[in-house]
């Protein structure tokens, strides 16, 4: 079923593979409801978490997923400073190889780093976010959440709101949702629309009022606060006025629309607190589902002949 030893992005997956991961994740979600949440399939395997960018949520989620599967986990937090000091990516790769890890979960600020590491034989590389390229497990857990709430994909409309240009979450979700037949809208200021993104089959809106109309799913993105100084928008206040998700705006979507966010949220910048904590928010469910999805990914990749 799974062809590649690595999970580099959603781009590379077929819709069958995506469904297979979601089905597998459903099984693990049941495991997570048990009293004893640990199962043995990865016993004796080693997962190396290699995070070149700060991340608590994703790293913890992967760590817990690996532990639930009985793998040994080593965490390398590589602060940016040691890169400056000169340990090259090549040396990092050689080190991982020498340690005999079976999986590398990698997050890096440069797009393409997981692809670089995937040249190492006998190791499965899982992309936990590379630059503005992809964050495939985030998209998979988002799909899982949509599926569990909506029961289907085809016929749904999703709006992704925020800084699309710099967002790997947006890209992975665009690939994932369009592959499964969801209509995708992006809503953002024209300064944050990636070049020729329309070719991916998405509809582009610069207004929440137009873009949110009758959607089933709203995916808010985290806004990096330093974007303001780069001239993408004049102030956080103005950004919230134009693109913040408020209760008022939420009414434009379908009554049963769900509100998602990959976290961590900037309350009052991209999303109003009452919406984040409101009945349509599935943000915490996303976190729980992330665990099941990451278990599924580790489990399936372990089954690929290397």
């Amino acid at each position: 079923m799974f062809k590649s030893k690595d999970l580099l992005g959603i781009k590379e997956l077929t819709s069958e593979e995506i469904y297979h991961i979601l089905d597998t994740a459903a099984g693990f979600k049941d495991v997570l409801k048990r009293d004893i949440k640990k199962v043995p399939p990865l016993r004796g395997k080693t997962v190396a978490n290699l995070f070149f960018e700060p991340s608590t949520r994703t790293r913890t989620s992967f760590e817990l997923a690996a532990k639930r599967l009985s793998a040994d986990v080593v965490n390398f937090s590589v602060p940016a400073s040691s890169v400056v000091k000169g340990e090259t990516l090549k040396d990092t790769a050689l080190t991982i190889q020498a340690l005999g890890a079976d999986f590398v979960v990698i997050r890096h600020s440069s797009a393409g780093v997981p692809h670089f590491l995937s040249r190492i034989k006998n190791i499965s590389v899982i992309n936990a976010g590379d630059g503005a390229n992809e964050h495939p497990t985030q998209a998979l857990l988002d799909l899982f959440t949509i599926q569990s709430r909506k029961g289907k994909f085809r016929g749904l409309t999703a709006a992704i709101v925020g800084d699309i240009t710099h967002s790997r979450v947006a890209r992975s979700n665009i690939y994932a949702l369009t592959k499964l037949g969801v209509k995708v809208r992006i809503i953002c200021p024209p300064t944050l629309v990636p070049a020729e993104i329309g070719k991916l089959g998405v509809e582009i809106f610069d207004s929440m009022e137009k873009g949110l109309r009758k959607v089933d799913v709203i995916m808010m993105l985290r806004l990096q606060l330093e974007r303001q100084s780069k001239g993408f928008f004049p102030s956080l206040e103005e950004y919230f006025n134009l693109y913040g998700l408020t209760a008022e705006r939420l009414k434009l979507a379908k009554d049963d629309a769900i509100v998602m966010h990959p976290g961590p949220m900037n309350r009052g910048v991209e999303i109003a607190t009452d919406v984040a904590d409101g009945p349509q928010s599935v943000i915490l469910e996303q976190v729980t589902n992330g665990l099941a999805v990451r278990m599924a990914v580790l489990y399936l990749l372990a089954g690929v002949k290397k």
Partner: protein, 424 residues
């Protein structure tokens, strides 16, 4: 020592020669061209059967990295790579360490090249001191010591007033100001072409406008000053169109492009292979087509390599951190032959753009195959195929996107000022 090259097809754009002739070399000069079999006796006869015999290629845009960056390339290795690629003249850019902005550096290059160079080397001096774009370098002293053009290549001259002054002041010497056209604010942080491909690979793009804006500015300044402007490494449709219009209005401008800009599109970048990382970036299909049209109609006068050798440690890193540049001397002519094969330009035009025209732009007495000229000759089998093997490059820079490509055009022999270079 007399050497006779026989049985070859002699092509010389300067005299518009294309035919079966024998070429006799005496010492470092060409003694003459003779109808087959009628040349005087020689000490050595080179059989050029199945080959073209052409003026040694002239590269008006080369990075030799010496002084200061010898781990990437030296004058010796760079010129060895040049002759392997059929070049007998290279013009080296000043972005060394120290920058070639003084007589001392120019002299060093000239002397080193005369001792160790496999071919002729002409230095290009910096436009501004330290290539900082603030004050003009001492252009007269640089010219006197041997610089044949000025450029801050690798960086644009961002200050329009300084660029104006450079174009004005260089008129004293009637030598070109070579402009690296890039708006640094628009290109900031960019590592590849901005477009659909940059969107799907998630790398920061450099828009065409970053090049076009500076081309437009420099063309306007050339119009204002009447200075001799040469646009380096043209990569965009917009730049081609702007130059075409400027030429039609009589502005004193010439332009070059490089093989990667008429051969590759940014689709190649999906592999994240840093050997495709170059500045300006490899562009989209429309731009490639425009560059080819520009070569065809003469808007783009010359083909240069922008040979930019790098050490593997500068390339085998994150794409964002990798050095920009392609090691180009050893594949340039073969890539040019693809244009001939595809009917974009004919063989005579290709040779002209790689010999005579760059020599004329640089005002150097090179790129001709005629009696009395320097014995700079390339003997190339244009039908013979080979597989590019970067590990076998004579350049220290193995950074080519064309590794393992099958190309035509094997340089059988290169003769540089009468010295014969040949390889197994």
């Amino acid at each position: 020592m007399k050497i006779l090259i026989t049985n070859g097809r002699v092509i010389d754009p300067h005299s518009n020669t294309d035919g079966r002739l024998d070429v006799l070399i005496e010492g470092t000069k060409i003694r003459g061209l003779y109808p087959e079999g009628s040349a005087p006796k020689a000490d050595r006869v080179i059989d050029a059967s199945r080959c073209i015999v052409i003026p040694g290629l002239v590269d008006m845009h080369t990075h030799l990295r010496e002084p200061g960056l010898e781990y990437k390339e030296t004058i010796k290795t760079g010129t060895m790579a040049a002759v392997k690629g059929g070049f007998t003249t290279v013009c080296c850019m000043p972005n060394t360490n120290p920058v070639n902005d003084t007589m001392a550096v120019t002299r060093f290059i000239v002397e080193k090249a005369s001792k160790e160079g496999a071919c002729t080397v002409y230095p290009i001096g910096a436009i501004t001191k330290g290539q900082k774009g603030e004050e003009l370098a001492e252009l007269e002293m640089l010219t006197r010591t041997g610089c044949i053009a000025f450029s801050d290549d690798g960086r644009p001259v961002t200050d329009s007033l300084i660029m104006r002054r450079a174009l004005e002041y260089s008129k004293i010497f009637d030598i070109p100001v070579i402009s690296h056209c890039e708006d640094l604010k628009l290109s900031e942080g960019g590592v590849m072409n901005e477009g659909f491909v940059s969107t799907i690979v998630g790398l920061k793009g450099i828009p065409n406008a970053a090049e076009d804006i500076m081309v437009a500015r420099d063309l306007l300044l050339a119009g204002l000053t009447g200075g001799r402007l040469h646009i380096a490494h043209v990569s965009t449709q917009g730049a081609v169109e702007l130059i075409r219009t400027a030429k039609s209005r009589g502005i004193n401008v010439t332009a070059e492009t490089c093989p990667h800009y008429f051969t590759l599109t940014d689709e190649s970048l999906v592999s994240y292979d840093t050997n495709f990382k170059v500045n300006p970036p490899i562009r989209g299909a429309k731009d490639v087509e425009a560059v080819r049209q520009g070569l065809k109609d003469g808007t783009i006068d010359a083909i240069a390599t922008d040979h930019a050798p790098h050490h593997v440690d500068d390339k085998n890193v994150e794409f964002d951190r990798a050095a920009f540049g392609i090691s180009g001397l050893e594949t340039a002519f073969s890539l040019g032959l693809r244009l001939v094969e595809e009917g974009v330009i004919d063989l005579m035009q290709l040779i002209r753009k790689m010999t005579l025209i760059p020599s004329e732009i640089m005002k150097i007495n090179k790129g001709r195959l005629s009696e009395g000229a320097d014995a700079d000759i390339a003997v190339i089998n244009t039908d013979k195929k080979y597989r590019v093997d970067s590990s076998a490059f004579l350049s220290k820079g193995k950074n080519t996107p064309f590794d393992r490509w099958t190309l035509k055009g094997v340089v059988e022999k290169t003769i540089s000022r009468g010295k014969v270079y040949e390889w197994d």
